[in-house]
Amino acid sequence: MFRGLWTTFKSMFEKPVTVAYPEQKRPVRERFKGRHVLKRYDNGLEKCIGCALCAAACPSDAIFVEASENTDEQRYSPGERYASTYEINMLRCIYCGFCEDACPTEAIVLGDNYELSFTGRNQAIYDKNMLLEPVPSGGLPTPQVTEPGRFTRSVPEMKDPVD
C-alpha cells in the first residue's frame, strides 16, 4: 500500500502531460496536413493556374476548379489561365495530400490549421477567397495590370521540394 501511495506522492510533482487547449496549443508536426492554403508569388500573383490536376487527383472528389483566361489588363496568375472558381468541400476532404503532390506550381499546400468547424453543410465548402493566403508585403492584390509578354510561362522554374 505504501508503494502505491508513494507513486501517488511522486506524481504530485510531475509536470502535467495534458495541454490546456484552447488556451495553449501544441505545435503541429512538420508533416501535418491541415486545411489547404492557396499560395501566392512574392509579387502577389496567384500560383494556381486552374489546371484542375488537383481535382483529378482527389480520391474523394472534394475539389472543384473552374478556369478562366488571364489578360494583361486583368492578371491573376502567370500564364494563360487562372482559377476563377476554386472550391474545396471540407466535409469530403480526407486530407491525403494528393492535391499537393499533383500541383505543378505548388499552389495548393496543406497548411497548419486544424480548427475547422461549421454549422451547416454549405459552410463546409471553402471557396477561393477563404483559401487564398493574404497578399505578401510588397505584392499587389489580384487582378493586376501587367506589361505584356512578361508572365507567359505558367509553370515556374522549381527545384526539388523538400518534404
Binding site: 508536426r29 512538420e30 508533416r31 501535418f32 496536413k33 480520391p59 474523394s60 480526407i94 491525403c96
Partner: protein
C-alpha cells in the same frame, strides 16, 4: 434491461445501445443467478458498405477507402491492400519501402496493444492502469504523427511503395520514444502479473484450451495466448519480415491473464524490431511505378494485424476499378471463442472477457453467411433487397 422468457430462462440483453458499450453490438446472456449459461452475439450494426463502395472507386482511391475500415489498424489494411494490388500488377516495392512499412506496422501494433491494455483494464475496473497506459500511448502517437503527420490514418502506403522517408533525426526520436515505452511496459508487466486485485480478476478466467482455439478458428494474440503458434508474420512473411524476423510469442495458460501477458510480450518484440529496422534500414528508392490499369486476375494477401490475421481478396478485370474487394477482419473470427468461453463465468466478468479479444466493432462491418442446414434461404439477391427496401419505406 432484463427480460423474462417463457421457457423460464433469464436473458440479459446488452446493447446495441448501452452505456457500457462504446460501440454498437448486441449480446444476449442467459443467466442462472449470477452465472452465465449461454451467450449469443449479434453484430453488423455499423455496416458501412465499404466492400461495395470499393467497387465504385479506382485502385488508388480504394487505398484510402480501406484505410478507413478501422481507425486503429489502418496501416495494416492499407498494407494488405497494397500488397494484393502489387501482386496483381507484378511489381514489388523497393526494400526501403518494405522496411518502412514494417516499421510503421510495428509502431501501430504498439499503439493498438497499449490502447487495448487501457481499455481492458478499464473494463476490469482498474482505471489507474487505463490512465497510465493511455498517457504513455501518447508517446507512440506522437512518433506516428512525426512520421506521417497524422495521428490516426497514417496513409504511409502508396501502391508500389511508401510516401514518407525516415531520416536520422526521426530515427533518433523513434529510438528515444521506444526506450521510454519499453521501461513503461516492464512496469505494466509487473502490474499485470503481480497486482493482487488484477490477478484475481484475470487468472483462470475465460480459459480456452489449445484444441478449442483451433476448433473455433481464433486468430492473433487470442489464439497465441492459448498456445496456438499462428502468426502470419512468421508463417507467411510479407513486407520485410523475412529480413527482420519476429519471434513467436505464445502462452499455454489460455486464460485472460495470458492474453495480457502475450500482448505485452509482443510489445517488447515490437520495440526490438523497431530498433533493428532503424539500425539496418536498407537504402534505396521509396516507390516503384504501378500501372493505372491493373491486369486481370485474382490475388489474396494476408497480413498480421494487431488483432490477428487480416485477409484481402482482390479481383481485377483489367480496368482501373476492382471487380471485388473482400476483406476478412480478425475480430470477426474471435467472437465465437468469446461466446464459447463466457459460459460458466459470472455476469460481472463479461465486460472483461469481451474486451479480452480486443474487439474492434468497425472490424465487424462484414456480412457473415451462416449455414444452418436444411432449406432455409438466407441469401437475398440485389433485386430482392431492392424490392424489400421499396416495400419497407412505402
Amino acid at each position: 434491461m432484463e427480460a423474462q422468457t417463457t421457457t423460464g430462462k433469464f436473458v440479459v440483453p446488452i446493447g446495441p445501445q448501452h452505456p457500457a458499450l462504446k460501440e454498437p453490438g448486441h449480446f444476449e446472456f442467459t443467466v442462472d443467478g449470477e452465472i452465465v449459461t449461454g451467450a449469443s452475439v449479434r453484430l453488423g450494426f455499423v455496416h458501412r458498405g465499404i466492400e461495395k463502395g470499393a467497387e465504385a472507386r479506382n485502385w488508388v482511391q480504394n487505398m484510402y477507402m480501406v484505410e478507413r475500415v478501422c481507425g486503429i489498424c489502418s496501416h495494416v489494411h492499407a498494407t494488405a491492400y497494397a500488397l494484393g494490388v502489387e501482386q496483381l500488377a507484378g511489381v514489388t516495392a523497393p526494400p526501403r519501402a518494405q522496411a518502412i512499412r514494417e516499421l510503421v506496422a510495428e509502431l501501430e501494433r504498439v499503439h493498438s496493444h497499449m490502447l487495448w491494455l487501457g481499455v481492458a483494464a478499464h473494463e476490469g475496473g482498474f482505471d489507474t492502469l487505463f490512465m497510465y497506459s493511455w498517457r504513455d500511448r501518447e508517446t507512440v502517437m506522437d512518433l506516428l504523427e512525426a512520421i506521417c503527420g497524422n495521428r490516426v490514418h497514417y496513409s504511409v502506403n502508396l501502391l508500389g511503395g511508401v510516401k514518407y522517408d525516415i531520416d536520422d533525426k526521426l530515427a533518433d526520436q523513434l529510438r528515444k520514444g521506444v526506450d521510454f515505452l519499453e521501461g513503461r511496459c516492464e512496469h505494466y508487466m509487473k502490474v499485470v502479473t503481480t497486482d493482487e486485485t488484477f490477478v484475481g480478476r484475470t487468472k483462470n478466467v475465460g480459459k480456452m484450451s489449445k484444441e478449442e482455439a483451433y476448433e473455433l478458428g481464433s486468430v492473433g494474440p487470442t489464439a497465441r495466448a492459448s498456445g496456438v503458434d499462428r502468426d502470419i508474420r512468421i508463417d507467411a512473411p510479407y513486407v520485410s519480415y523475412e529480413q527482420f524476423p519476429v519471434k513467436l510469442i505464445t502462452d499455454d495458460a489460455g486464460d485472460l491473464q495470458a492474453r495480457f501477458v502475450v500482448r505485452i510480450k509482443e510489445l517488447y518484440e515490437s520495440f526490438r524490431l523497431i530498433r533493428e529496422i532503424l539500425d539496418h534500414m536498407p537504402e534505396g528508392e521509396l516507390t516503384v511505378k504501378v500501372p493505372r490499369r491493373i491486369p486481370a486476375g485474382e490475388a489474396i494477401s494476408r497480413v498480421e494485424a494487431p488483432r490477428g490475421e487480416l485477409l484481402y481478396f482482390l479481383k481485377s478485370n483489367g480496368t482501373d476499378i476492382p471487380d471485388r474487394v473482400k476483406i476478412r477482419t480478425p475480430s470477426l473470427c474471435n467472437w465465437s471463442s468469446v461466446v464459447n468461453y463466457a459460459v460458466g463465468h459470472k455476469l460481472a466478468d463479461m465486460p472483461m472477457l469481451l474486451a479480452g479479444i480486443d474487439p474492434c466493432f468497425s472490424c465487424n462491418d462484414r456480412s457473415v453467411t451462416i449455414h444452418r442446414g436444411g432449406n432455409v434461404q438466407n441469401d437475398w439477391s440485389w433485386e430482392q433487397l431492392r424490392q424489400y427496401g421499396i416495400a419497407y419505406y412505402r
